[in-house]
């Protein structure tokens, strides 16, 4: 840890505090008030903003490159110079953690984005058109939901070989939309019966225009909440896959494969395993509390409890 790193971290801390308190002061309206009334919403948001900024500004806050090996310092316990220690080939754990955050947070977020887009469109189509389209799509969802996801993903990876980051994101997204589509479908089915939808239809709008411009925005709350709560699951899945050696491939750091790297040194260098796991737990906890708070904010039925 150098003075520059410390200053950079301090700056990120200040930015996080400033950003979150700006969010709190901003008049987001009733929803914003309900969001911050959730006891852990502020904490969750602070952690998320902090982790995301550290990951984005990784070069500024890390004194070493994530692949740089200091061969004389293998499995070194945390010191002032290496605040989280070094791993089995002498790489700085803190630096890898910061860079790994880019991949872990990024894969989770982008994977969820793919899943939400797909789930939203399928759910909207099924809920809006009903009839045989609905029956067909929902039977597909039934099948998708009944094969345990880790089997699906592991199978795809083992059979098609190791995937790059983009392919992994796509795979996680393509296997993660089933539950979302069910939620969106039921939401769309109720929105479709509202008078304003009838009005747009009477004005001669085409079905997809109605879905994209009118139905989806009005069922967005369910979509946003399921996305926020789903990113955590995505991250856990990516970590599990990388841990099994099927996800992000070394030497690229991801929190999951860092745990796998540290596993063999567990008795002698537990810090190489402990810190990435804590990072995952912290990020997923923050995502879950933010998701809960978002649900309270956007869904008046469960809000205010």
């Amino acid at each position: 840890m150098t003075t520059a790193t410390l200053l950079a971290l301090l700056a990120i801390g200040v930015w996080t505090t400033a950003f979150v308190s700006w969010c709190r002061r901003r008049p987001w309206g009733e929803a914003g008030r309900r969001f911050f009334r959730h006891p852990s919403a502020t904490g969750g948001l602070v952690v998320l903003v902090f982790l995301a900024t550290v990951a984005l500004c990784a070069p500024l806050v890390t004194p070493y490159a994530p692949y740089q090996q200091i061969l004389t310092l293998q499995d070194q316990p945390p010191t002032w110079l290496h605040p989280l220690g070094t791993d089995f080939i002498g790489r700085d754990v803190w630096s890898r953690l910061a860079y790994g955050g880019r991949i872990s947070l990024g894969v989770g977020t982008l994977g969820m984005l793919v899943a939400v887009t797909l789930g939203g469109l399928v759910g909207a189509a099924a809920g809006y058109f009903r009839g045989w389209i609905d029956a067909l799509l929902m039977r597909c969802v039934d099948v998708g939901l009944s094969i345990p996801r880790i089997f699906l993903v592991l199978g795809a990876i083992a059979l098609w070989g190791k995937l790059g980051v983009a392919a992994l994101i796509l795979l996680l997204g393509l296997t993660g939309w089933f539950a979302t589509s069910r939620i969106v479908r039921s939401e769309v089915m109720s929105v479709r019966e509202r008078p304003y939808t009838d009005a747009v239809r009477a004005l001669g709008a085409r079905p997809w225009w109605i879905i994209v411009r009118h139905v989806l925005p009005n069922s967005a709350a369910a979509l946003i909440v399921s996305a926020a709560l789903g990113i955590g699951n995505m991250m856990l899945l990516e970590a599990g896959l990388s841990f099994l050696g099927a996800g992000i491939q070394p030497p690229h750091p991801s929190w999951g494969n860092m745990i796998a790297d540290g596993r063999d040194q567990l008795p002698t260098a537990p810090w190489t395993t402990l810190f990435p796991g804590l990072a995952i737990a912290l990020a997923v906890m923050a995502l879950n509390t933010t998701g809960d708070a978002l649900r309270d904010a956007l869904d008046p039925k469960t809000g205010g409890k």
Binding site: P39, S40, R139, D142, V143, L145, S146, I147, P148, R149, I150, F151, L154, G155, A156, A158, L159, W160, G161, G232, L236, A239, G240, F243, L244, G256, I259, R263, L266, P267, P270, T273, L274, P276, G277, I280, A281, V284, M285, L287, N288, T289, K305
Partner: protein
């Protein structure tokens, strides 16, 4: 009721059939071959060709598919490539281990989860509730395999209380008396079951707390309080009954979760169960074994949701099972 049952069973079979067909097509279309050992151990092409012919892999895909389905209809799962024994045997050897692990973990999950949820709801919005809420959220957000490693480190390596892998002692188990063998099993079961149970309990507790708080808001709770019942009676006999319904449906979902969560845990603890079998089968490109384990896992999901529906209907007179 009967119509519902028929419909449900038919739908379940259709889903399982579709899932198996999908897996069949996917694994056969994927690049890569079984019987092609890693680079270090080259194999005579003639031998590979003979193996492929023996297992019928040289036939066109539709023919193979028809053969597999016919086989399946006769209750045959085929022969495992990598284990050189029938798939049914390999699965039969793994199932008891997974069930032992899963049932113990479920017991820990629900006892602990429901107890914590009850306690939290009774002390809602006090300091102990908030503290426990953070603890349960933490466990709920943990990567299971990481918790497994931490427990291995603390209880296996540092304290030396429990073994860190396997389901029995590799050397002594068979020479132990019956009682000793049971103890040996439980001793090896402790850490993997605790890992799965703790992570599950985090979710169950959160769920139970929310369900109870909702139940406590109902009018009949106010009535019960107005009758002068003790708070514990109101909580347990009135509110909890109502709040147990969503937890029952959670149990149906927990069955497949524990099965899949067990893939990672079984790998970490080298527990010879279904999850490890599936993971190994996938990496060995053992087509019949992959199909067999997927079939079983899909059956578990379908059965789990079926059981949850039946239990909910049995526990809640408002729910009618109609087609």
């Amino acid at each position: 009721m009967r119509a519902w049952l028929l419909r449900r069973v038919a739908a379940g079979i259709a889903i399982i059939f579709a899932a198996v067909s999908l897996t069949f097509v996917a694994i056969h279309l994927a690049p890569g071959e079984p019987f092609l050992p890693p680079d270090e151990r080259p194999m005579d092409p003639a031998v590979v060709a003979r193996l492929r012919r023996n297992y019928g892999l040289d036939r066109p895909l539709p023919v193979q598919y028809l053969r597999y389905v016919t086989q399946l209809a006769h209750g045959e799962l085929g022969e495992s490539f990598s284990q050189r024994r029938p798939v049914a045997q390999a699965i039969a050897a793994a199932v008891p281990n997974t069930l032992l692990l899963t049932i113990t973990a479920l017991a820990i999950d629900f006892t602990l989860g429901i107890a914590i949820g009850l306690y939290q709801a009774a002390r809602a919005r006090r300091r102990s509730d908030a503290a426990l809420a953070n603890v349960t959220l933490f466990f709920y957000s943990l990567p299971t395999f990481w918790l497994a490693l931490v427990l291995q480190l603390v209880f296996g390596l540092w304290l030396g209380w429990f073994p860190t892998g396997g389901s029995t002692d590799p050397v002594l188990h068979d020479s132990l008396p019956l009682f000793g063998r049971v103890v040996d099993r439980l001793y090896h079961l402790a850490l993997p079951a605790l890992t799965l149970g703790l992570v599950g309990a985090g979710g169950t507790a959160r769920f139970q707390r929310a369900a109870l708080l909702e139940a406590l808001g109902h009018e009949y709770v106010r009535t019960a309080r107005a009758k002068g019942l003790a708070e514990s009676a109101v909580l347990i006999r009135h509110a909890w009954r109502d709040a147990l319904l969503p937890v029952i449906s959670l149990a149906g979902v927990a069955l497949p979760f524990l099965l899949t969560g067990a893939v990672l845990i079984e790998t970490v603890f080298s527990w010879p169960g279904l999850g490890k079998l599936a993971a190994d089968a996938i990496s060995a490109r053992d087509y019949p074994l992959v199909l067999g384990t997927t079939l079983l896992a899909t059956c578990a999901v379908v059965t789990g949701s079926f059981i949850a529906d039946v239990l909910t209907a049995a526990a809640d007179p408002r729910v009618r099972l109609t087609a």
